[in-house]
Amino acid sequence: MQPTILIYQLQQKNEKAFQKIYEMYADNTFGVIYTIIRDKTISEEVLQDVFIKIWNNASSYSEKKGRFFTWILNIARNAAIDKTRSKSFKNSQKNQEAEYFVDILEEKNSFSQKTDAIGIKKYINALEPLCKKVIDLLFFKGFTQKEASEKLEIPLGTIKTRNRICINKLREILEV
């Protein structure tokens, strides 16, 4: 659901609305950032920056341009990718081995989230390797179809439908 009223209040600088939005999107935003950064402390810093941007730039959001979820996702991805390019990040880099988002699920032992991450983990392990890669690039890393097709060496025309099939499988297990 688009939290239309909350967005409107956020744009009016309503702090309660901001807090609600944080509660709604902090988890998944943190997840997206962590998928790119792979460092908990740095990811927290980026998360902080992202929500400060959300507060400061809320008025630039318009439903016509896309989903609110997507707007936050874009801010988070961009902030995280910027961070990976920074000098301080490169110097502190240690965990670069993990390549795809699924590896995170492998590393995780405790799940404090409201979502059934254990269920997701079980399912994602059963996902085709190509699905994992497609979702990783398009969703988590924000690749364009063209970039993804080049990286994965599969035809550009099949990316969109391939991704749809992968997401459908995901939705089946999540029952959404």
Partner: protein, 265 residues
């Protein structure tokens, strides 16, 4: 728009990912607003992705919110200017009332807009109907005017046809344009013929009695004016109208003679 095809194309997933161009996104948005099924699909995709990405978070980042709040200096001033509390609340109330009023206003406007759009559609339909009616009326008027012109012609002989035994109330008038050899039969005074029957117009010679058919009035019900033009090359001495089986008869059925009138000589 084939909804199912649109959904299965995979464009909606990319829309939620944010990997479409700005223009493509705006197009998808327009489609969403038009087709609730598609919007529902987007909601579901988003829900799935929200869960998937939440599962990637190493832990719940609750504590980070306090740092954000500190950095933005949110709610700090509230504690400092405690005396202003009352006034601040006033502002908040007004703000809330205003936003509620605005929301109500927006919803009302939306509904009004929908209503107006429907009214425009209705008005368009009505306009088309009226245009059709005007068209028909204009055609009728032209026809009536030309009829009137014909009847005003001084060369026309008017022959009233009197009622006969079958129907004492029936009457008809023949306007005979001898020069152009046309007989205009005005049958507004005749009852609508029963199904399967038609009126047939006869030109009569009296000595000896020789009927010649001028034609059947098979458009009786369709013609509003109830005036029919039939060609008449005969030296008619009288006109008669009989009720005949559909398609007409070779000779008149005299038991069904509705009206009869002689031409004054």
């Amino acid at each position: 728009m084939e909804i199912e095809k649109y959904i299965t194309s995979g464009v909606l997933e990319l829309y939620v990912y944010g990997t479409l161009s700005e223009k493509e996104s705006e197009e998808v948005y327009k489609v969403l607003k038009e087709y609730p099924e598609i919007e529902k699909e987007v909601e579901q995709i988003e829900k799935g992705l929200l869960q998937l990405s939440s599962a990637m978070a190493p832990y719940n980042p609750e504590k980070v919110y306090n740092r954000i709040k500190d950095q933005l200096n949110l709610s700090e001033d509230e504690k400092v200017i405690a005396i202003d509390q009352k006034r601040r609340n006033w502002h908040a109330y007004i703000g809330w009332a205003a936003s509620v009023a605005l929301l109500i206003g927006l919803v009302t406007q939306l509904n009004k807009n929908k209503e107006l759009q429907q009214q425009v559609v209705d008005a368009n339909i009505e306009q088309q109907l009226l245009e059709g009616k005007i068209d028909v009326a204009e055609k009728d008027l032209t026809k009536t005017k030309s009829l009137l012109n014909i009847l005003r012609n001084k060369d026309i002989i008017q022959i009233p046809l009197q009622a006969q035994k079958v129907d004492p109330k029936a009457y008809a008038i023949v306007y005979w344009d001898k020069k152009n050899q046309i007989a205009y039969i005005d049958v507004a005074g005749l009852p609508t013929p029963p199904p399967g029957k038609v009126y047939q117009v006869w030109s009569l010679k009296l000595t000896p009695l020789t009927p010649t058919s001028l034609g059947v009035l098979d458009q009786f019900e369709e013609d509003e004016n109830k005036i029919f033009a039939l060609s008449n090359m005969n030296e008619s001495e009288a006109f008669g109208i009989t009720l005949e089986p559909k398609g007409g008869s070779k000779s008149p059925t005299l038991e069904q003679l509705y009206t009869l009138g002689a031409v004054e000589s």
